[in-house]
């Protein structure tokens, strides 16, 4: 379906901007389609200009108020070291939320991703309803989910964990079903030919192909979640976000600096470790 759409678009473009006609010495002919680049650049410029107008972005204000930013940054870069004791607890909460949320979200994503893959699931109605469900899930911004969760489950890390589960589930199931659709179905066919049922064939032929990609998606999502989790406290879902919110509220940018520094070290350590693992997997 996509293909025919593309073909139609191409035809429309080429009808307006006629292709260049090349005739070789031997009389053979070929049409060279016009480059689309100029059109794309014009579109981009229009969009940028329109958004500047719409958002009221004014470069003068940025320049005038720059001293403010300077003052804040100055303080942030002089963190208050004694504040570290207060930071460890929420930091631990943040890591806990993202780890637990990632694990649960990733496990839930596996069966849904399998059912959302068109090469495995031949049942169109189920396939389409699962995909629809997954896109709906992905539409909810994590902050909103966290906010709603903290209304339902009360303030605290549990709400944050649920928000992260929802986010992880949406992202991993999408990335995973897209990788499942690219696997080689030959081994699956071989398994069926030797008397395996669909489950046995899938488990023996497809899972070994998917597993490394799956784990790598999970780790990647975990990396993102550490960062995402730190902001969730803003809406009352526990973790470092609460502290960040407080520090900004008190205009105590030295403390804020300490929180951000800790967060940076934590995120950096976890990301380094996780990318190392992902490299091992591929």
């Amino acid at each position: 379906m996509n293909n025919t759409e593309n073909i139609n678009k191409v035809a429309l473009f080429d009808r307006i901007f006629k292709p260049q006609h090349i005739v070789l010495a031997n009389g053979h002919e070929i049409d060279r389609p016009r480059s689309r680049l100029p059109l794309i650049i014009i579109c981009l410029l229009v969009v940028v200009f329109a958004s500047i107008q719409l958002t009221g972005f004014d470069i003068k204000i940025v320049i005038q108020r720059f001293y403010q930013l300077e003052a804040i940054l100055g303080k942030i870069f002089q963190p208050k070291w004694s504040f570290f004791n207060k930071v460890t607890g929420p930091l631990f909460d943040t890591v806990k939320m993202s780890l637990l949320g990632s694990v649960i979200g990733c496990i839930l994503a596996l069966p849904f991703a399998i059912l959302a893959s068109s090469n495995v699931n031949k049942n169109k109605p189920i396939l389409l309803s699962i995909r629809f469900f997954l896109s709906v899930i992905r539409t909810f911004p994590t902050l909103i989910v966290a906010n709603v969760c903290s209304l339902i489950f009360g303030l605290g890390t549990f709400a944050g964990t649920v928000a992260i589960i929802v986010f992880t589930f949406g992202v991993v199931s999408k990335m995973l079903f897209e990788s499942i659709e690219t696997i080689d179905m030959g081994p699956f066919e071989a398994m069926e030919s030797l008397g395996a049922n669909k489950f046995e064939a899938f488990w023996s032929a497809c899972i070994p192909q998917i597993l490394p990609t799956y784990l790598s998606h999970c780790l990647y999502c975990f990396e993102m979640n550490i960062r995402a989790a730190s902001i969730l406290g803003y809406v009352g879902a526990g973790g470092l976000g609460i502290l960040i919110n407080e520090c900004i509220g008190w205009r105590d940018y030295n403390q804020l600096g300490m929180v951000l520094l800790t967060l940076f070290v934590a995120v950096f350590t976890i990301e380094t470790f996780s990318s190392y693992l992902r490299k091992k997997l591929s």
Partner: protein
């Protein structure tokens, strides 16, 4: 014994895959099926283990009417028929032995499949199958590190490990270089002779077909146009199979 009686296969889109095919293959025969691409070789082979359904006629394998099978019976029936593919169809990132072990999966309880637990005996049997195709030293190597010929041997070992009485091979050497192709054909020949396994092989290298197979079936546009010993295949017969010129009457029987 495999017996086609007036078998016709029409694909859902109306393409006639097989037309009034009559064919009888005894246990232990080595049959090469030749024909242009699109002639219906794959279709013929895939109806035998019911990877494809037939539309008319009857197809029996060792007395079982293939079209009556369904579900569990069909899967049990497929246990004794091995299948080899042009593209090997291995899990390339798994080791040789893990690929060979997968052919035991249908006989295992589901929790062992889930956890990938294989018994010592199963592992020894798999190693023996790998030894039979001469690549025992590669047993613990990942398949993506093997050459095409070695990968096809892994596929052969996987099939042997299920103890089949029939092996169906769909263009098994089409992706291999000529020398490796001969080695793999030699493996088929040896397995055929030593283990009395019937072998049906689709192949478009006529010289290999004539050299290794005992019997040749020529197929054109879904119809069998030649069926006889490999030693009696003449240039006229090949012309008939490949170009569609009519065969002199004498050569037909």
């Amino acid at each position: 014994m495999i017996e086609f009686k007036n078998v016709t296969k029409i694909y859902p889109n109306g393409v006639v895959g097989l037309k009034n095919v009559d064919l009888k293959i005894e246990q232990g025969e080595f049959v090469a099926i030749i024909g242009l691409s699109g002639a219906g070789k794959s279709t013929l082979i895939r109806t035998i283990n019911r990877m494809h359904d037939i539309s008319e006629g009857t197809l029996t394998v060792d007395g079982t009417d293939v079209m009556t099978l369904k579900g569990k019976e069909l899967r049990r029936f497929r246990r004794k028929i091995g299948m080899i593919f042009q593209s090997f169809n291995l899990v390339t990132r798994s080791t040789v032995i893990n690929n060979v072990l997968t052919s035991m999966v249908p006989d295992m309880p589901w929790y062992k499949t889930l956890l990938g637990i294989f018994s010592k005996e199963q592992k020894i049997a798999a190693l023996e199958a790998i030894d039979k195709v001469g690549i025992l030293d590669k047993a613990y190597t990942r398949c993506d590190q093997l050459s095409g010929g070695q990968q096809q041997r892994v596929a052969l070992a996987r099939t042997l490990n299920q103890n089949p009485s029939i092996i169906l091979a769909d263009e098994p050497v089409a992706a291999l270089d000529p020398i490796t192709a001969r080695l793999v054909m030699g493996d088929f020949k040896r397995i055929n002779k030593e283990m009395n396994i019937s072998i049906l092989i689709n192949i478009h290298h006529v010289d290999l077909a004539l050299e290794y197979a005992d019997r040749v079936v020529g197929i054109r546009a879904g119809e069998i146009v030649y069926d006889g010993p490999a030693s009696e295949v003449t240039q006229e017969i090949l012309d008939e199979v490949y170009n569609g010129k009519s065969i002199p009457q004498a050569a037909k029987e």
